[in-house]
Amino acid sequence: MNRTTTRPITIVTGFLGSGKTTLLRRLLASPEMHDTAVLVNEFGEVGLDHHLVQRLDEQTILLGHGCVCCTVRQDLVQALTTLLDRDQRGIIAPLRRIVIETTGLADPAPLVFTVVADPMLQHHFRIDSVVTTVDAVNGQGHLDRHPVSRKQVALADEIIITKTDLARPDTVATLRERLRRDNPAARMTTAILGDLDPHWLLGPQASHPTVARTTATVSPELFQRTPRPPGAPHPHGTEIRSLALTFTQPLDWIAFSVWLSMLLHAHGEAVLRVKGLLNVGATGPVVLNGVQHILHPPEHLAVWPDEDQRSHLIFILHALEPEAIKTSLQAFQHLLGAHPTVDSD
């Protein structure tokens, strides 16, 4: 079964009270969501009125090496297997999409790992996107005080700022700048009371939506839109940092994959996201999309999406200096066949 027949999974995450359920309730009311199954960790105060809502009772298995991102969510394996069985036996209408709502304190990485690594699930499902809601009123405080909130943002493909009607415009603007710096690779929008066009989030579905999203978000122009304010200190220590690189020359894919696999082995927990569109000297680029130790199988595309055929690579890092990545790539340049230039860090 190839990826065009796998069912896309959207993970909706966000800190406590950031409006995940409100967003979902509005989205699920639209006719396009009729053939979507919803898996929730808890039934919150805002009830979901949808015919295919199922609860996940968290059962986690920490694998041998103990890294958090490589935790198998056995409850998710069970729930998706059951859904698949009911779908294939015709008990429910054919499923087109799955939405998983996490708890406000959940790290979404184990959910991604569970689907990507499970020998059965990987043939029937794929992670389409991680959607993170951020409360415009309390979001800054959550990001300041709760590392899991920063991680939910760092892992997002889509960020939705909620409750913007309750916050001052300058507060929203400051939050937006911070989110853009913490995760320049994510698309961002705002929603009041979950009022968001489902098409923005879920479609219209291209044949390779993940590829389309990656292509749209690795552009270096994103960094130029939100430079760090003049005089603002660079964060250090345990802060989340991002790094955008461009390679003008084609990269040696074999050498680059050796370097990246070595990096993820040594520092996978610190590489919260890696996204890229790489020129490897073929007719089309290689699309990279990774979350910590977990790398989605790289897509080798037949053609380029636009005229820019340089390689663009974005890292979102936790407790790892972007300079170290740049220095390493420079030292590896003779193996890689290309030299990086830094767009922003």
Binding site: P119, P297, L335
Partner: protein, 119 residues
Amino acid sequence: MCVLCWQFLTESHWTDRRFEDNDPTTATAGSDHERTRRRDRHHRTQVLNQILTHYGLRLDDWHSRSYLLSDRKGKTAIVQDLGVLWPMAQQLTGRLLDPLDPWLLARLSHSHAGREPVV
């Protein structure tokens, strides 16, 4: 695709995948696809040896199916792919193989000294 928990993965490692893998007509042994795959393995072995040599390790392709990873004392391990290689290399050497390690970067720069920088 977890580089630490490789034993749970049943499909080919991501570093072994190519665009041609999506086309079933190219999977025949002896075809261009197979030749490309062998050429890639050969090149991968060469690249890896330029790194592993700094740790006293050597990698050899074994019938285009696995690799043999050896240290200078003759200890040898069979590794399937890069998901297995790095943890095994760490086990053989007792140290983390880290592409950010200034010691390794200095060794690489020294071994490439005199070559023109890549533009």
